[in-house]
């Protein structure tokens, strides 16, 4: 497939930045935390063992740092078609403010904060930066995730 040498215009960039994905609220189940810890192969008692976690300063199970990947956050749709079919995850930058516990209701919301194009090894690539915020049922900010998605 021939790839264009340039795609993104300043007008498109302005149109994209600030676009939001629909907010989603999910109830965190203890079993989901434990299943996530098993899937990543992390035997830390704080994420797996209720009795041991109860004796910790948390007083019960907490979720591993990247568990918030599993709460179904949405991604904003671009307001235009892109000539790319492939997708790669470029990286993530998390900030943590409160622990995630079983029984929490986590609301995630996403927003495009930047979009840029670059020519790389695999031709023209579109880099989209998305900020996802995660709040709990007390309206406390639990974490933020700044994530880069690459389309090429």
């Amino acid at each position: 497939m021939p790839t264009p040498t340039s795609f993104l215009t300043e007008a498109m960039r302005r149109q994209a930045v600030g676009r939001k994905g629909p907010a989603v609220t999910v109830a965190v189940e203890k079993g989901a935390i434990q299943a996530f810890a098993r899937a990543i192969g992390d035997a830390n008692p704080l994420f797996n063992d209720e009795a041991a976690a109860r004796r910790s300063r948390h007083g019960g199970l907490v979720a591993p740092p990247t568990f918030l990947r599993s709460v179904g956050s949405t991604r904003p749709e671009l307001p235009f078609e892109v000539p790319f079919t492939r997708l790669l995850d470029g990286g993530s930058d998390w900030e943590y403010f409160e622990p995630v516990r079983p029984g929490d209701r986590i609301t995630s919301a996403s927003q495009i904060t930047d979009i840029a194009e670059r020519t790389g090894r695999m031709g023209l690539m579109l880099f989209m930066t998305i900020l996802i915020t995660y709040r709990n049922q007390f309206d406390q900010m639990v974490a933020t995730q700044t994530s880069t998605t690459i389309r090429y």
């Binding site: 989901a32 299943a35 996530f36 098993r38 899937a39 990543i40 192969g41 992390d42 830390n44 008692p45 704080l46 041991a52 910790s56 300063r57 591993p64 740092p65 990247t66 990947r69 599993s70 179904g72 492939r86 997708l87 790669l88 995850d89 470029g90 990286g91 993530s92 930058d93 998390w94 900030e95 943590y96 695999m122 880069t148």
Partner: protein, 148 residues
């Protein structure tokens, strides 16, 4: 559980205990289920090859989780993760071990918290850093342990 590390015990340049992971295709399927990321490049060999890859690759998010494990196991139950960042620079494949490593780059106090910054990364068996990143943790301090 490992012994608790205290802020006073940490020095710049100190290494974090390495974390060796042996990801398998089974783990990729398990992670897809646990995370809800069902993009086929992580479990369907034919699909992965059709996109130009050599085969299925690890989820970036799973590598992010390995780095989280590297840092949380080091900081201990009284530590608190403040920031975790990484970039996916190279692909990693099931059946190939990868090792998480880290180095302390600095420590400081802020708002009554005892903070430590680290460079962290995953490297493949050729020693290439496929997933470089950084982390900040708050550790307990011996100064606030007794008589406080």
């Amino acid at each position: 559980m490992s012994e608790q590390v205290y802020w006073e015990d940490v020095t710049e340049g100190m290494g974090l205990p390495p974390l060796v992971k042996h990801p398998t295709t089974r783990q990729l399927v398990q992670y897809a289920g646990a995370s809800g990321d069902f993009y086929e490049i992580h479990y369907d060999q034919d699909f992965a090859r059709s996109t130009g890859l050599d085969g299925v690759i690890l989820h970036g998010a799973l590598k992010n989780a390995f780095l989280g494990q590297l840092v949380t196991q080091w900081m201990g139950p009284q530590g608190s993760l403040k920031r975790l960042a990484c970039q996916y620079r190279g692909m990693d494949f099931p059946g190939k071990p990868i090792t998480g490593r880290g180095t302390v780059t600095g420590k400081h106090q802020r708002d009554g918290q005892f903070l430590v910054n680290c460079d962290i990364w995953l490297e493949n068996s050729q020693g290439q850093k496929t997933t470089p990143g950084s982390a900040t943790v708050a550790l307990p301090s011996r100064s606030t342990l007794s008589g406080a």
